[in-house]
């Protein structure tokens, strides 16, 4: 099986370890991964700010790079959702995009993960993955409970997942919201962190590096020892960040 790996721009630039872990993880499961070298961004930052038209070039470039793949995989729920909703066709033709966790659970249907992570972990449910891609059942919705990323974390040796008070509240990142509504964004981030820190987590993980970048910024400013790690790094068996 050959997939095109889409690494969102800010992950490429600031969090290469999350991207490397995603690549290695897919390779471990026998997937032939191609990483188109001319890729940049899906255009979401512009579009969510009201400037879809300024994101057009990025969108066209994305399709030039990925248009011929059957599967595209990205370690980001948010970018995956944007590509799915705004760039790919909705009539069943052309490539299908999956967020990394759902690719593992739904397409590869992995039953075992050979990794160990003996730490207390808080899982942050990123909104676009949760409510846009349906990676889990949102707490607002009535129905059968499921959570694809958590089902993967539960397969990790020694990993102790904490129970949060508000299991799927937004962290307050929201793209340019983080800057243009700085006050609320920071307050939301602090509140979200408090929920994790109260439970004594060592690591906060998520399927979206953008939420984690925001939370990490707050943690580092407070000189906290709590680490953030992309879920791919934990699933890939990477040790806790030093």
């Amino acid at each position: 099986m050959k997939v095109g790996l889409f690494i969102p721009c800010y992950v490429d630039q600031f969090y290469p370890s999350a991207a490397i872990a995603s690549l290695e993880l897919l390779e471990k499961y026998g997937v032939e991964v191609d990483y188109p070298m001319d890729q940049t961004c899906c255009g979401q930052p512009m579009a969510n700010s009201g400037y879809e038209h300024y994101g057009k070039d990025a969108g066209e470039l994305f399709m030039k790079n990925f248009g011929d793949f059957e599967y595209i995989v990205a370690p980001s729920g948010s970018c995956t959702l944007h590509v799915k909703e705004h760039l790919l066709s909705h009539d069943g033709t052309g490539p299908k995009i999956y967020e990394l966790c759902e690719f593992l659970t739904d397409v590869l249907q992995v039953s075992e993960i050979h990794a160990s992570f003996p730490h207390r972990v808080g899982f942050h449910s990123s909104c676009h993955g949760l409510r846009g891609l349906h990676l889990a059942k949102p707490s607002e919705i009535v129905g059968k409970d499921f959570n694809k990323p958590v089902s993967l974390l539960e397969k990790i040796n020694g990993l102790e997942l904490v129970k949060l008070d508000r299991k799927d509240e937004c962290c307050g990142f929201g793209g340019t919201f983080a800057v243009f509504e700085e006050g609320i964004s920071v307050q939301m981030g602090k509140d979200r962190l408090a929920d994790h820190l109260d439970k004594g987590v060592e690591v906060i993980t998520a399927a979206d590096m953008s939420c984690l970048m925001h939370l990490e910024g707050l943690l580092k400013r407070e000189k906290s020892s709590v680490k953030i790690m992309h879920i791919a790094e934990i699933l890939n068996g990477n040790p806790i960040h030093s």
Binding site: F14, T40, G55, D57, V142, G172, F177
Partner: protein, 459 residues
């Protein structure tokens, strides 16, 4: 009020009191939790939401016919039906009815529509003392405020503050904040007003086209108390409040209170069909921009709203900035998609007061795609509204860089190099909103692309 402030500026003000912010957030989260518990008890919840959405879909696509049907049936029942194109016409009609019937004292139960039309101020300017009889509304009326929430209008006030307001206006003991004591005082005060009233104004939760009847939902029974005692009943109704059949009502009554407060049903769901002998009943059907919103394909289903307020209770931004930060009659997520349709420039920051987390759409009992409409309003505002110049410039530049791989690679590398080499005093300036309270990510020694080139390709 936040008339000329951006949402962010108003929120900044609210956030200064962190303790109060936490209290407000926790209070509304508690209501959201009660809503979840109530919803989870109904296995058919999602089907109910879908039904409610579809019925309203039918209403919106047959609004013209249903309104005429409603008017004809109500008229046949002996109700006077009046049409008002806008807020001014609505207010003028109310005033005329009061004059014609020599009304001196009037009571009013909760109606967001009359807030939208500014009826209280209008009538007060004409010399009327408008007595709001909903407890929360009476509190904010004493306090010279407008509702901060459409279901719980005084949710921004703490018990102690309400005690102080009552001490000042009702003569309760200084410092007393026992809810039962205060409610009793309000009850005695309002009983006096009810007895004296010649006219009662109510809103309408549901107008039933098939019967010409309408339903008013209150938890306090204040609409009933007012209308039963007064000779004149004026019901103010937005034209989108229709449902086709009486049989459809059950769908909405099961959803409304559960979504709003977590109750299984509102305490009083009062059905009005015709005036009692010797009394008069009026329905004022108000457009005030609704037809225009109906004509906007991307935004029309915002008119499905049954005003439960669930989107406010769940919204992490609303909970941390309060209703006043929106500067519009209907605050919160639903207000942020309704208000730009009324005044795009004035409300141009509201669709950005969201992370697009989508929780509002998931709690909405009539399945309005609120967060998708926020996204769509953003596109409209960037083109024809009042966009912030700095944002426009930044997005244009970002679009250029991210649309071109060579430029992206160069810019990425130089940005990382600059971040690595610059002292913090240059990075964390007042122009860097990110860095006021957050650190930037540590700069890695190479991008993934650079790593990939070295480790996975033969170049």
């Amino acid at each position: 009020m936040a008339e000329n402030r951006t949402h962010a500026e108003a929120a900044e003000e609210f956030l200064k009191d962190e303790e109060r912010t936490h209290w407000h957030d926790d209070t509304l989260w508690h209501v959201r939790t009660k809503r979840d518990t109530a919803a989870q008890k109904l296995p058919e919840w999602e089907v109910l939401r879908e039904n409610a959405s579809q019925i309203k879909e039918y209403v919106l696509s047959h609004l013209d016919e249903l309104l005429i049907q409603f008017e004809n049936n109500a008229t046949a029942n002996g109700v006077t039906v009046i049409w008002a194109k806008n807020a001014q016409e609505h207010n003028d009609h109310v005033y005329r009815i009061l004059q014609e019937n020599h009304v001196k004292n009037l009571v009013k139960s909760k109606s967001i529509l009359t807030e939208e039309c500014g009826l209280n101020h209008f009538l007060e300017a004409k010399g009327y003392d408008v007595v709001d009889t909903d407890l929360g509304e009476r509190i904010i009326q004493f306090n010279h405020q407008v509702p901060s929430h459409i279901v719980m209008p005084a949710i921004h006030l703490k018990k102690k503050e309400i005690g102080d307001i009552f001490h000042k206006h009702l003569g309760t003991d200084a410092g007393a904040d026992d809810p039962q004591y205060l409610t009793e005082a309000a009850r005695l005060h309002l009983r006096e007003k009810f007895i004296q009233a010649n006219a009662a104004i109510t809103g309408v939760n549901f107008g039933i086209a098939e019967t010409g009847g309408f339903v008013v939902c209150t938890n306090e029974g204040n609409a009933d108390m007012g209308t039963h005692l007064a000779d004149i009943h004026i019901a103010c109704m937005g034209i989108e409040k229709l449902i086709p059949r009486a049989a459809d009502l059950g769908v909405y009554l099961r959803l409304l209170a559960r979504s709003a407060t977590g109750q299984s049903i509102t305490n009083y769901n009062s059905h009005f069909h015709r005036p009692s002998p010797g009394k008069k009943m009026y329905i004022i059907l108000v457009d005030n921009g609704r037809t225009e919103q109906l004509g906007r394909e991307d935004f029309r289903n915002s008119l499905k709203c049954i005003r439960c307020g669930a989107c406010m209770n769940t919204c992490p931004i609303y909970r941390r900035s309060s209703g006043f930060s929106y500067g519009s009659t209907v605050p919160g997520p639903i207000g942020s998609i309704l208000s730009p349709g009324i005044d795009l420039k004035k409300h141009s920051t509201l669709p950005f007061a969201s992370t697009l987390c989508g929780s509002c759409s998931d709690v909405c009992p009539v399945k309005i795609n609120i967060h998708e409409q926020l996204y769509k309003w953003r596109q409209v505002i960037a083109k024809e509204g009042n966009p912030e110049p700095a944002k426009k410039w930044a997005m244009k530049l970002a679009g250029k860089v991210l649309g071109n791989p060579t430029l992206y690679n160069i810019m990425g590398k130089s940005a990382r190099t600059a971040l690595k080499l610059s002292p913090n005093s240059l990075i964390y300036t007042r122009f860097n909103a990110w860095g006021k309270k957050r650190d930037l990510p540590e700069v890695p020694k190479e991008s993934f692309k650079e790593w990939y080139k070295k480790n996975r390709t033969n170049d």
